[in-house]
Symmetry: C2
Subunit: 188 residues, 2 copies
């Protein structure tokens, strides 16, 4: 086995999430993840700072993709339309291949307060970044913060639906429906 | 000084928040809080489990008040109207007398990651409780979760406005305006 391992990152991710599900997040060591992946712990640390990063290392790219989508929305798009563009833009992150990992990840996070806190901080950071992106489009306050918070609310509800046990629809139709539901709830 | 101290709880709260602001949350001890309040540490522990509780011990009552308001909203009230009733019902918690404490509390929490995580967990718990209260009114999913999350979003934005440095309007007009802003943003 050479030092260059194709797909090492995804092998570590798959091994880690299996172990988190089997023996629990707390009990899983980096050594065990590496062994399950058929790689070394040293290689693990080339991809992840620690085992927690296996669950969270895509979040910066997700946030940047959403922020870019808000910035690139048509000039005449409303604040909520721009947020809607951001929510659908990240559909590539949540394809069918990713769903089994995302399902296990959600269960692991729900069972661990530290991870849940980290996830909530991540969502609060995302909301602040989206509000900033809206203000840079000329949206004032409190509208920018309200639209960003509502967007993150839609994202969270849609994501929970996407990873729920018997859900078969894709992330994009679910998030579009959620946004439309929120619009009609707000109007009633 | 007898064992029964009128206003002991509010004296501890005032002393604690002063010290958190002056020397930092981490550096403040219960002994120092008691000394500043002119009371004993032993008395402190009759009111609060630890110094963190000074910042969070009203949250269960706040949540219960909101949940009751959702349950008691008129039968024909929409999900968002019921949430709006909950948001205004808690105006008694956030009167002018409370604002200086709330301002300092917000700054202390923003400067401490552990406290911020606790606050975010509290908001997530509130959202789940409001969604449950809506489902008990017959609101289906994802509508119940969306309306609850949007309500908490409005609450957070309005609360941040209420404690901001130069804000003079009361909590109730601010939260009503925020909900109306969200309605009109969602409609546009």
């Amino acid at each position: 086995m050479g030092r260059w391992e194709p797909d090492a990152e995804s092998r570590f991710r798959a091994a880690a999430i299996e172990l988190f599900g089997e023996v629990g997040y707390e009990q899983t060591t980096v050594a065990a993840i590496a062994e399950r992946a058929g790689l070394t712990a040293r290689t693990f640390f080339r991809y992840f700072a620690d085992k927690r990063e296996v669950l969270f290392n895509g979040s910066e790219r997700l946030q940047q993709t959403m922020v870019d989508a808000v910035a690139q929305a048509p000039t005449d798009a409303s604040a909520v339309d721009a947020i809607g563009a951001a929510l659908t833009k990240v559909g590539d992150f949540f394809d069918e291949e990713r769903r089994p990992f995302a399902r296990l990840r959600s269960r692991v996070i729900a069972a661990n307060t530290d991870l849940l806190e980290r996830e909530l901080i991540k969502m609060a950071t995302l909301s602040a970044a989206l509000a900033l992106a809206l203000r840079e489009r000329g949206v004032g306050e409190p509208d920018a913060s309200l639209a960003a918070e509502a967007g993150v609310a839609v994202f969270r509800v849609a994501f929970a639906q996407w990873v729920s046990e018997f859900e078969r629809r894709g992330y994009v139709p679910i998030v579009k429906e959620s946004l439309e539901r929120l619009r009609s709830l707000a109007a009633s």
